[in-house]
Amino acid sequence: MDSDTLVLMYRKMLEIRLFEDKVFELYGQNLVPGTIHLYTGEEAIAVGVCANLRKEDYIVSTHRGHGHCIAKGARLDRIMAEILGRKTGYCKGKGGSMHIADFSVGVLGATAVVGAGIPIATGAGLSIKLRGTDQVAACFFGDGASNQGTFHEAINMAAIWNLPVLFVCENNLYAMGTHQARVMLIDDIAERAAAYGIPGVLTDGNDAIAVYKAAEKAVERARGGRGPTLLECKTYRQKGHSRFDPATYRPKEEVEEWLSKDPVRRLRKQLREAGTISDDKLAQMERDVAEAVEAAVTFAVDGPHPAPREALEDIYA
């Protein structure tokens, strides 16, 4: 892998990490309405996948979507503003944390209905095929989502039409308080690909380089007209499921083990060991990212709330 890509990936992962830490902090200060689902600990997946995508490629995101959007190139400030319910946010405050979209960089939006994005990604793939471009679409969803009927229907459809779609299962072992083992008998969701006659690939979702390489192959396949791939990335959420979840249903040792596999620290270590980036540059980057996140907060907090009557705009195109 070339070092520019690696450095860029590290930067994006760091952006996500610090962004989510900041969101966590802000909601402690009661600045974030509603609920939120942090991507902390899963950064390698969005970044490893999106590092293979071009601006005009698409992604479909989920309730745990901040990381996806940042990885695909959406702006920190407008995401933050949206999370804070400001008019300056991507969705003018109408969407919030669970519904970020930035069509200008191919983020087709996040749905808060678990599994509902999967057929939408198939549709994006169909659109690409019908329009005859060489774009690809990547769809993120969780282990829990893979038990939805949409998973079955939509992956099958992408398979029979040979569509350029990556189905990326972010298996963080839990859907809210429900451990994977309590809702499916198989260990690897990647196995389900066989039901549709497409490749199922398993990868370490906390290893950005591994994700990058697995996604690279799948993207190559898709762009080459050889159809969809189901890519399962094993990972773990470092925080609770949502705002108020203390996540006490997870054994302490399990949490600790996974914290020790932190994907951001891991890539940092790899970069340093391989000498891909100097410590100075790293420190500079880390300062830059922290500043960018601060700037995003300032932008967000300074943004006005939407006027009440705007609630009645944008209902119809």
Binding site: G109, A116, G123, N156
Partner: protein, 324 residues
């Protein structure tokens, strides 16, 4: 103008729009060359436009709509068919939560130019899972448009308009309408959404009816004329947007309102139209509003049972007579 069937008028609309705009394509179960659509609306289109633009799908209603949504937000104009209206139940999340809300939820960033065609209605003895009329559900979902054409010309004009509209449209057809003939303009012909049509003028009582019930209402009006009653029949043609003005103007003229729809009575189409008039035009009324709808029951199989439930000329005449 030639006389063609409602079915052929729909097909003509699809064909013309597919010719006009390369981004228009069709998807649904058995709509292609092998079956040509359960009601043959898409007959010949796969042969003409190729299987890539007339896609036979697996039996996966939720993914049919979801896929159409994904295509719609990335530059295409899909027309999805759900083989029977009863099966929209399987795709309600994609219709009501995704298609309907994407434009709003994302602050207007994206449009969802998607048409969902589906046949509603009873009368052909295929029982509770193939005979419902569920258009009221869609009226209740902001973000959707709802078309309910009753005549071949309306079918053509509204379907062409639906395909060009940038919002998701639930396009309701009716099994008994497909073979009905009428004059239909050739070539370019579109109708605006939100424009009701007075299908028959009258001055004693207003019947607002939709889809197949328009035909029954017109028959009833004719029969009532012999009794010296002058009946106006208003066809909203689209339920969302609903043309309040034409309905209220008619009620203002006649002072009496009967609303007829084939869907179940409670919280259905007749409820909304009756409520609208009770809110905005109660002072024009000289009698209670009457609603005639299918009673709140599933549609039974056996012909005498089914016939008993669904409104028709006879029951329309009866109810009109109650308020004149």
């Amino acid at each position: 103008m030639r006389k063609i069937t409602y079915r052929d008028a729909l097909r003509e609309a699809l064909l013309e729009e597919m010719q006009r705009d390369k981004t228009v394509f069709l998807l649904g179960e058995d709509i292609g060359r092998y079956w040509q659509g359960a009601f043959k609306v898409t007959k010949g289109l796969a042969e003409k436009f190729g299987e890539e633009r007339v896609l036979d799908t697996p039996i996966s209603e939720s993914a049919i709509i979801g896929t159409a949504v994904g295509a719609a937000i990335t530059g295409m104009r899909p027309v999805a068919e759900i083989m029977f209206g009863d099966l929209v139940t399987l795709a309600m999340d994609q219709i009501a939560n995704q298609a309907a809300k994407i434009h709003y939820m994302f602050g207007g960033q994206s449009r969802v130019p998607l048409v969902i065609r589906t046949p509603f209605g009873g009368g052909v003895n295929i029982a509770a899972h193939h005979s419902q009329s569920l258009e009221a559900w869609f009226m209740h979902v902001p973000g959707l448009l709802v078309a309910v054409p009753s005549m071949p010309s309306d079918a053509k004009g509204l379907l062409k308009a639906a395909i060009r509209n940038d919002n998701p449209v639930v396009f309701c057809e009716h099994k008994l309408l497909y073979p009905i003939e009428g004059l239909v303009p050739e070539g370019e012909y579109t109708l605006p959404f939100g424009a009701a049509e007075v299908k028959r003028e009258g001055k004693d009582v207003t019947i607002v009816a939709t889809m197949f019930m328009v035909h029954e209402a017109l028959k009833a009006a004719e029969a009532l004329e012999k009794d010296g009653l002058s009946v106006e029949v208003v066809d909203p043609r689209t339920l969302v947007p609903l043309d309040k003005k034409v309905i209220i103007d008619s009620v203002r003229k006649t002072g009496r309102l009967v609303v007829v729809s084939e869907d179940c009575k409670t919280a259905g189409v007749t409820a909304e139209i009756a409520a609208l008039v009770a809110e905005e035009a109660i002072d024009y009324l000289d009698a209670p509003i009457k609603r005639l709808a299918t009673p709140d029951a599933p549609i039974p199989f056996s012909p005498p049972l089914e016939k008993h439930l669904i409104p028709d000329e006879k029951s329309i005449i009866q109810i009109v007579k109650k308020i004149v």
